[in-house]
Amino acid sequence: MLRLGQVIPGGGFALGIVFFYLSLLIFLPLGAFVLYASGMSGESFIRQVTDYRMVHGYMLSFGCAFAAAVINAVFGLLLSWVLVRYNFPGKRLMDGLIDLPFALPTAVAGIALTTLYVENGWLGQFFYAAGIPSAFSAVGITIALIFVGIPFVVRSVQPVLRDLDGSLEEAAAIMGAGKFLTFRKVIFPELITPLISGFALAFARGIGEYGSVVFIAGNMPYETEIAPLLIMTKLEQFDYQAAVAVAIVMLGMSLFVLLILNGYQHYRLQRLGA
């Protein structure tokens, strides 16, 4: 594999470390999982994954992750715009706050959000007064996933917006285009790719998210039971087949999202190159 005769030493040594490490941490665990999964009969697998409780679980995870990613795309674009284009007091603090979900443990975020959005919570009281149950519902799950996903969108869009070539905008302005028209026709098309990649990352993360969601979800079977929780529940009942079945569906969903993202980026690159 390694081409010998390269000048820099240490290739074999590094390869050894990497191979040993990946074997212990990725190949062996993944292999044990695949081995067990391949031992399941197709019939029982189909029965497990089409069970109504399961289907409800991943539809819920999928739907809430999608809704949260859409909302994050809108606010993420707005926040990137504000942080790149405007100067105002407190900008650096605002920029730093966006990374909070990366640094704050998910369980801590989970209990804090739940306490905020329960019926007599600081924010929950307004939601409940408006007739929206903001905790122990799909709304609550979506709120938690918005929290988790926002940095993905901002950190994808922000650098692209910052490095955008200003001359096109100037040209548009000189030719008399209004600010909004310039944004829609000149700036936004450049931001579609990073926006979609931020969206996909937030979406994929949302499907698998557990810590921040499990407290606010309420975890009622057939109602607010998310897919990762189904795995936990099935494991506690020593129902390994069901747990593995849900895991396969979840792995499939996030790989699907990331593959589409990869395909899209590839397509964009080719079109730009042409």
Binding site: F13, I17, P29, L100, A107
Partner: protein, 295 residues
């Protein structure tokens, strides 16, 4: 004629003024919406944690934080975090060295494998280790015979933590090492320097900020990991409980003050991480810029 042009210029000025006024309105409304979003989503949860943690006063806070189970959980979290950072640093350096200093087939595949833990739900990651070391494992009898407990014990927690944080350090070093190129290392090798000497004297000083950045990200994620650790821990109090798991138990026992008190330790650590991250990021971009100047 003069009058017309004067009129036109007045009109243009008015139009410009109206435009500037409109632009200001748009600017400040967008800033307001963004700030309101961040206050509601980020600031309020932080404030709430502080308020709830101190709801029963300072002495209750101190009691919750210094209680033996909380202390044990803190030590286990520290242990898992340190082990994850150490082993992922060694791996990250080796992987980055391989990916940036050599050409070989399957390079992009190796990159994709390293990124895999990012694509896997933490709960599924935990399940992988249950499959490898738990009751259904092909090695279960051997593990039993030697009385090695991995799942529902500390080694499982450490392994799960390492798995979910595996890509961070490698991913932080690779772009920096790539930007540095190979010439310096190649020159040193041709002059007869050993691999270790090249690494310590040339590569490491060049990538130190990238490495530090990765270590910060890795420790932040490691100390807060919940899903994967939750699956493999077995929730044995005082034995396999990390801080996040301890918080979950306290919260589910309706012991909210204690839960938020323990959570506040992690909040303080998270804020420290954010500040360090910003400082290192600043150094990193500066290092990149001066690197460009030297070229």
């Amino acid at each position: 004629m003069e009058l017309v042009s004067k009129l036109a210029s007045v009109k243009a000025k008015e139009k410009l003024a109206a435009g500037a006024w409109q632009e200001k309105l748009v600017k400040w409304s967008l800033i307001f919406i963004g700030a309101a979003f961040l206050v509601i989503m980020m600031v309020l949860p932080l404030v709430l944690i502080g308020v709830e943690a101190l709801a029963k006063g300072w002495s209750a806070y101190m009691r919750a934080v210094s209680e033996p189970f909380a202390q044990k959980a803190l030590w286990l979290t520290a242990e898992a975090t340190i082990l994850a950072v150490l082993s992922n640093t060694v791996f990250g350096l080796a992987a980055a060295w391989l990916l940036t200093k050599f050409d070989f087939k399957g390079k992009s595949l190796l990159g994709a494998i390293i990124d895999l833990p990012f694509a896997v739900s933490p709960v599924v990651a935990g399940l992988f280790f249950i499959m490898l070391f738990g009751r259904l494992s092909p090695f279960y009898d051997t593990l039993q015979a030697y009385q090695v407990a991995v799942v529902f014990a500390v080694p499982g927690i450490v392994l799960a933590t390492i798995f979910v944080t595996l890509p961070f350090i490698a991913r932080s070093i690779v772009p920096v090492m790539e930007a540095q190129g190979r010439q310096e290392e190649e020159a040193a090798a041709l002059m007869g320097a050993s691999g270790w000497r090249i690494f310590w004297q040339i590569t490491l000083p060049n990538i130190k900020w990238g490495l530090l950045y990765g270590i910060i990200l890795c420790s932040a994620r490691a100390m807060g990991e919940f899903g994967a650790v939750s699956v493999v821990s077995g929730h044995i109090r005082g034995k396999t409980n990390t801080l996040p798991l301890h918080i979950e138990i306290l919260y589910n026992e309706y012991n909210f003050t204690a839960a938020f008190a323990v959570a506040s330790i992690l909040v303080i650590l998270a804020v420290v991480v954010l500040i360090l991250r910003n400082l290192v990021e600043w150094r990193l971009t500066r290092a990149e810029r001066t690197g460009e100047h030297e070229l």
